[in-house]
């Protein structure tokens, strides 16, 4: 399992959006990073700093204006099943049942239905959605939809999972459960992950490494190694090391806010 695929390397990425009748918006500028495989890399920044654009670039939906982007040394030129995204809002297709959503990927690439259905059953069972395979997404709760999306992605054995603020909009309790859920999944599989968030607590709890982004035009301004031991429990947020890391991150965040903000 740990052939450790999914190394993402970005060099001097830049992206400017041109909207008609509006001044151009520089979203990314000189953004460089190296996301190591089999790691839970968290990209953290304020809203509007270009995090989502970065996620869409990694997935191959958006082309950078400048810079290069590679996965395991190969340039990223298009989207593909090796890099799958869990989007901010649910992207499950509401007109398909949960099972149809999950088997869509394998069937799209010419896989056999019986194999896909078996794999889907297996995954849905594991995600506690076994009884819900014939439901439509609209009949699921927010947390269940998130798990269904994970199943929909994992059935394709991606090299990298890209999660773009996946748990935003969930209530606090569901959110915490989903964090523990993903943490467990990651610790079991070591699936290379790029997790995008605006929340420091979420970042510290999940990450092997946090990449702090500046405000737009976004670039990586600081890397924090989160050396909290795995497997992690929610209790790790009460440790001394967690508090130290939190201080370090906060200091970096405020340093990035500019001098005029000092109280």
């Amino acid at each position: 399992m740990s052939s450790a695929q999914g190394a993402l390397l970005g060099t001097s990425l830049a992206k400017t959006y041109h909207v008609k009748d509006q001044p151009p918006v520089e979203v990314l500028k000189d953004c460089s990073f190296e996301f190591e495989p089999a790691m839970l890399n968290v990209v953290m920044g304020t809203s509007g700093c270009g995090k989502s654009t970065l996620a869409h670039m990694l997935a191959g939906y958006v082309r950078p204006d400048q810079g290069t982007l590679t996965i395991d040394g190969e340039p990223i030129t298009d989207s593909g099943p090796d890099r799958l995204v869990v989007f901010q809002e649910t992207a499950l297709w509401p007109w398909m049942t949960v099972e149809e959503n999950v088997v869509f990927g394998p069937l799209s690439r010419g896989g056999s239905r019986s194999k896909a259905v078996a794999a889907s059953n297996n995954l849905l069972q594991r995600f506690g959605l076994g009884e819900f395979k014939d439901k439509y997404p609209g009949q699921l709760s927010g947390g269940m939809m998130r798990r269904a999306e994970l199943a929909q992605a994992l059935i394709n054995s991606p090299k990298v999972m890209i999660l773009d603020e996946p748990f935003r909009g969930l209530d606090v309790m569901t959110r915490e459960l989903m964090q523990e859920y993903y943490l467990k999944l990651f610790e079991d599989t070591r699936l290379s992950t790029v997790f995008i968030t605006a929340e420091l607590e979420e970042a510290l709890f999940l990450a092997d490494r946090i990449y702090l982004m500046s405000d737009a035009p976004g670039r990586i301004v600081k890397i924090i190694d989160v050396d909290l031991p795995r497997p992690r429990e929610i209790s790790c947020t009460a440790t001394k090391r967690y508090a130290e890391l939190e201080q370090e991150a906060l200091a970096a965040l405020y340093a990035g806010q500019g001098e005029e903000d000092q109280l």
Binding site: Y61, L84, V85, M96, S108, Q139, S141, G142
Partner: protein, 277 residues
């Protein structure tokens, strides 16, 4: 991957499935005794206004007279039911043609920039012209009355259906297409499995609005340009100074419109099972 990722008791309770009530327009919860009182009052007031010869009501027949005329002269005649059939046929063809042409047209407008640039200006130029303004031209152009009425009916529904589908295509969530692309779906598969279902709600809105407009247009066109149908029946009641017939016609049209909307509603439910579960 281990098999240990499980839902805890806590998890399950936090994530209880959301129960949605299947909504139906035909499931009228206000059909209780108040509804009957309201309808009874309406007919009593109508009969009262006619019996008392209130201003304006002197030439209007009361409900009893209307029922009398209906039962004696219409209910069991073939020509009355033929009017129904003729109007329904016109609505059906106008509506069906508007769907058959409007749906692909709207899809093309939304997906092909070239087609959009070439066709949309003309489309937008024609769209504000009310369907009934097409009546004279339509009679000149089409060889038979029947075809010109169907054409006018078609015009009434076509623009509404097309513009709805065009909007529907433009509001497809980008993520829905992206995800399918990432998973390796071909363009045809994306079109069939993602784009078409994504615009079904817009098609449904177009159908609901379209069927209402179609009846409006058919009735008006029949009054102006035809010698048959429910619109003509109503108009003849006026011309031949038999007001009860006018009201028989009006009520028949109302019921016909209601029935058509009901049929469209059933089709919409069949089309989008996920919306009503």
């Amino acid at each position: 991957m281990s098999d240990e990722i499980s839902t805890t008791a806590n998890d399950a309770s936090a994530n209880a499935p959301v129960k949605r009530r299947a909504k139906s327009r035909w499931n009228i919860s206000s059909w209780n005794w108040r509804g009957f009182v309201s309808i009874a009052c309406f007919f009593l007031a109508w009969q009262g206004a006619v019996s008392l010869e209130l201003p304006g009501f002197t030439k209007i027949p009361g409900p009893s007279e209307v029922v009398h005329t209906f039962v004696n002269d219409y209910l069991f005649t073939q020509s009355y039911w033929n009017s129904w059939l003729v109007s329904f046929e016109r609505v059906f063809w106008g509506f069906a043609l508007a769907q058959i042409i409007g749906i692909p047209f709207g899809l093309f407008l939304g997906t092909s920039k070239l087609f959009n640039n070439l066709v949309f200006p003309v489309f937008e130029m024609m769209r504000p012209i009310p369907p009934l303004a097409w009546v004279p031209l339509s009679i000149l152009f089409w060889p038979t009355t029947e075809s010109s009425i169907i054409f006018i009916t078609f015009i009434g529904a076509f623009f509404i259906i097309t513009i709805n589908i065009y909007d529907g295509v433009r509001s497809i969530k980008q993520e829905h297409i992206w995800l399918a692309r990432s998973l390796g779906a071909s363009r045809i598969r994306i079109f069939r499995r993602i784009m078409i279902p994504a615009v079904l709600p817009a098609i449904a809105v177009g159908m609901t609005l379209g069927i209402a407009v179609t009846w409006n247009v058919v009735i008006a066109a029949e009054m102006i340009a035809s010698d048959s149908g429910l619109g003509r029946l109503t108009w003849e009641g006026y011309v031949s100074s038999t007001p009860p017939v006018v009201i028989v016609g009006m009520i028949s049209i109302g019921i016909a419109g209601y029935l058509s909307t009901m049929i469209v509603d059933i089709i919409e439910r069949r089309m989008m099972p996920w919306k009503y579960k």
